[in-house]
Structure formats: structure tokens, C-alpha cells
Amino acid sequence: MRHLFAQTLRWQAVKVLVVGLASLGWGLLIPFFYAQFSDVLRSLASENPLIDQFSNFGSGNLFTIGGTITLGLQHPIAIAFVAIFAVGAASLAIAGERQRGTLEVLLARPLPRNGVLLATAAALFVSVVAIFGVLVAGMVAGAAMQGLLEAVAVDQLPLVLLNGLLLWAAFLAFSLGASVSFDRAGPALGLSLAYLIVNYFLEILGSLWTDAAWLQEYSLFHHFQPGEILAGETDPLDLLILALAVAIPLGYALLRFPRRDLAAPA
């Protein structure tokens, strides 16, 4: 199984390197934006309720360094970086191999199907850890470069990482569940992307439209709160909900994959 794990990592390596560099750049920029624009935005927001409302993007804002880090990690750019692995690669992990026909050769080896699934999941999770870790590290480095490190509760960063990795593990697990359910990559990728987008839409819609704020509770993104964690207000319920969001689809995938009939590829 270690060969499959290592090979999957090798196949992701170039992507991890490129996306990792981009993530580092994004991470460095976020504290820079905060240092440059938060005062201006704060005064604009105090004069204009509409700007005040739209400054709360997702669970983040540009008024505190914690809020800015949250915003940076919930921004579509950061989401795209991590989703390349947690959603794109994960949804193609089994369905893509099925479609290409390479799963045939793989499963001809003495590998239990769940072993294949877990080795692939582990390799993709390592990629997610790398990208998300670089994003957070970039933000910490950026805060240090802007002289803001004192405002960041560095001792809370492990919890931020745990919270973020649980969020992305939940999307990864869902995508793997989709991947083992389809013979073609398209439906698996489509379903996984739809899950991500619906979660994101509920969170953003609720943050921008007060009447729809209740929708946020139904979004996994709403349970990713680095700002609150950095402010020392960790809600264990958020972690529990995300852990469940990991366990349920992963459990489904582990039950479904070994029981599936794998007919000859078309």
C-alpha cells in the first residue's frame, strides 16, 4: 500500500509545488491588504452601512487581523487552491481511474479495495495539509513582515490548522464518496463541486444578506472560524460538526467501494 501512497504523492508533487508557491504568495498578501486597507475600509464602513455589510465576507472581515486571516482562507482564491486536491483530485481518484481503465490493472494486484481508497485518500490529504499549511504559514510570515505578529495568537495556530484541515477533510471525504459511486469522472467531479459550491453559497449569502444569516449554519464553511480561534473563542461544536462531516462520507465510501460491482470499462 505504501507504493500506491508514494506513487499518488509523486503524481501530485508538481501540482503541490506550483499551487504551494501560489498559496504562499496569497498568504503573504493577506496581512499586507490588512495593513494597507483596514483603516480606510473601517472609516468607509462607519459612514456607509452597505460597505459595512459587504465587508463581512463569509465569516471574515478586514477589520481585525484574525478576521482578515479568516477572509483570506475563505476567499475563492484560497478555496480554489485547496479544492484542486480536496475536491478535484479526490473526486477523480477512483472514478477517473475507472474511466481511464487503469483501475483494472491496479485492482489486479493483491490490494484490498479499501486499502486502495485509504492510501489514495492519505496521499491527497497530505497534499491538502501541504497547501493549507503553506497558506497559513504564508499569512503568519506576512503578518511578521507587516509587524503584526503580536496581534496574532500564534499559540492558537495549531487549532486553526486543525479546524481548517477538518473542513477540507470533509470535502475530501465527500469527493471520495462521490468518486467510488460513479464509473465516470464527470458526475463525480460535478457532484463534488456542487457540494463545495452550495456550502460556499450558503455561507456567503448568509454573511451578505442579514435575513438569510440562518443559512450559514448549514454551511461547512461556517464551522471554520480561524478568527474566533485566534481570538481565543474556539467552539468545540464546530470541530465536532466538521469531524462528523468527515466521518459520514468516508464511512459511506469505505462501505460502498468494496461492495460495488466493477463491470468492464466501456
Binding site: 483494472e104 490493472v105 485492482l107 489486479a108 494486484r109 493483491p110
Partner: protein
């Protein structure tokens, strides 16, 4: 495992997809050290059978075992001792041929002891193996498929349409490899619809149609009991052969007589042995004719002595 025990054994094996039956009540045994041909046209259920044996599919009813191991519960151990060449094999395009073989050998957990010999016989040079799979022709991919299935010297090789894409020269090289494996006591389960090659390499064959077993016999037995076409030319009027055992479908056109001959040739040879015989042709029976006979007449498949005989199937779709 007992040496006399079958390597593959199925009992009433049935696989259904909803209302469609892909395999119906299939019972057969493959013996140690034989090359077993599994014959049928596209869609007959050949690949379904292989996929059940290797644990890709779960049987709806009946049972199957390989090396005495249950295909449902012990497929990992079965695959440890097997080599499998899927039909229309797909490989990882970004890898070189050698990297693909190394990777698959690593996953197999067995040393690729036969690789160099196989590569040499299939004319896959080091330079070729260093090229990426994406640059390979279909035949070269098939050769890599053959090598990956056999490189770890499996006790049982399951080969689905193994010569697909190979040129005639490579087909013969492949047949020679199979001959060697047979001599070394390896067992080959060989699925094909290329009848001459089955006739050439297999010891026994099973013929299936619509997922049902029609026949299971030695190739020689199947051929021995087939009707052969005969044609003889006579000086003067040809003799009346209608009373000769095994002769049927007699057509006479002056001095030329055409008929079919089934079974023992001695009575026929005695009947035509005469100075007036000018020319005699007896076409050899071919597996193709046997096969076509089974497929041409659903209501009454031809009779043959010995082996498994199964009533003609009903349409399942």
C-alpha cells in the same frame, strides 16, 4: 493445495444485472497445468466470468473458487497468486514502460523474475521500455500488458483477449511463451474469440453463449466429432456413398461428389478406395466450424461425444 484439485472451480455461477443475466448457472473446472480456452463472441460473458474470478464483480448466485479460495472473501490472496491481463489494457500514460512495470511489480509484492525474458521475446528493448507509455502503439501497450501479467511468474495467468493488437510475429512469440508456461506447469485461463489461436494453444475449451455454458471439451475431442467437408472426383460415375457410416449431405454433379463426413474416416476410405478415384479432398475440421455450429443453430447445438453438454440457452435480454 492438493495437486489434483482444480485451480478454478465454479458451481452454478450466476451473475445478473437487474433482469439481465450475464452468466447463468455456469459450472466448470480448470485443471492445474492446462491452457484453458474460454470462447464466446463479444458480450457472451467471458469478461464477466473473469471479473467474478478476480473479485471485481460479486456473484448473484452460485460460487467460484480459485486455488480453493473463495472469490468473494479471499480475492486479495487469489490476486497475489495470479497474473491478469485485462482486455484493452490501460496504463498510466505519464510513466515509462519500465516505470509502469516496476510500479505494478511493487504493488504485486513479488519480484519480476520473468520480465527480462518476456521483454526479450516480445522485442521490448531497453530503449523502448524507457519511452513513455503515451508514445506506445497499441501493440506495444499490449506487450507491456502481457509482461505485467506474467513478470512475477504467477501460478495462474488469466488473459483476456491477449493477442489483441499484436502483429502475427508477436502472436507467435506469445504462443511460444504460453507453450513454455505450460511445460513449466503453469495454468492459463485464456479468453478469446480468435478461434485459430484457441485451437493452436488450448488444451480444453469452454464455449459460452449468452452467459450459459454450451460445451466443455478437449479441443481434439471437439474437432474429432465435427463434420468435415469432403469432395471427390471420379473417372466415370461416382459411387453411391449414401450407405457409408458418417456420410451425409451428399451432392453429386456428374463425376464430382460433395458430402460431409462425421466420425471415423475408415469406412469412407474403404468405400472410395478404387483405381477410378481421381482426386480426394477432406477439409480439416476447425474450431471455427464447431463454434459457428453452436452459434448458428440455437435450437439444436450439434452433438459431440464426451465433455459437458448443456441444453441450448434461452434469450436472456
Amino acid at each position: 493445495m492438493d495437486d489434483a484439485a482444480p485451480i478454478i472451480s465454479t458451481l452454478g455461477l450466476t451473475k445478473r444485472y437487474g433482469r439481465v443475466a450475464a452468466l447463468t448457472d455456469l459450472t466448470l473446472e480448470v485443471r492445474r497445468g492446462e491452457i484453458f480456452g474460454f470462447l464466446g463472441p463479444n458480450g457472451a460473458g467471458k469478461s464477466t466470468m473473469i471479473r467474478v474470478l478476480l473479485g471485481y464483480l460479486h456473484a448473484t448466485a452460485g460460487s467460484a473458487s480459485v486455488f480453493g479460495l473463495d472469490t468473494e472473501r479471499e480475492s486479495v490472496e487469489i490476486r497475489r497468486r495470479c497474473g491478469y491481463l485485462p482486455g484493452g489494457i490501460a496504463l498510466y500514460d505519464a510513466q515509462s514502460g519500465r516505470d509502469a512495470l516496476d510500479y505494478l511489480a511493487d504493488l504485486q509484492g513479488a519480484s519480476p523474475v520473468r520480465r527480462e525474458a518476456l521483454a526479450e521475446r516480445l522485442q521490448m528493448s531497453d530503449a523502448t521500455l524507457r519511452r513513455r507509455v503515451r508514445d506506445y502503439s497499441r501493440g506495444m501497450r499490449q506487450k507491456i500488458g502481457v509482461i505485467q501479467a506474467l513478470q512475477h511468474d504467477p501460478q495462474l495467468a488469466i488473459l483476456d483477449e491477449p493477442t489483441e493488437g499484436l502483429d502475427p510475429l508477436m502472436q507467435h512469440a506469445f504462443y511460444a511463451i504460453l507453450d513454455d508456461l505450460r511445460r513449466e506447469g503453469r495454468t492459463i485461463f485464456f479468453s478469446s474469440h480468435v478461434l485459430p489461436e484457441v485451437e493452436r494453444v488450448c488444451d480444453r475449451v469452454a464455449i459460452i453463449r449468452d452467459g450459459r455454458l454450451l460445451a466443455l471439451q478437449h479441443v481434439g475431442e471437439l474437432l474429432a466429432h465435427r463434420r468435415r467437408r469432403i469432395m471427390l472426383r471420379w473417372r466415370g460415375t461416382a459411387p453411391d456413398l449414401r450407405g457409408v457410416p458418417g456420410i451425409a449431405d451428399v451432392e453429386q454433379d456428374g463425376s464430382t461428389l460433395r458430402a460431409t463426413l462425421e466420425g471415423d474416416v475408415v469406412p469412407f476410405v474403404r468405400a472410395v478406395a478404387s483405381p477410378s478415384l481421381e482426386d480426394l479432398t477432406i477439409e480439416p475440421a476447425s474450431l471455427e466450424e464447431v463454434f459457428l455450429d453452436y452459434y448458428a443453430d440455437e435450437a439444436a447445438p450439434p452433438s459431440a461425444a464426451g465433455g459437458t453438454r448443456v441444453p441450448p440457452p434461452k434469450a436472456v435480454e
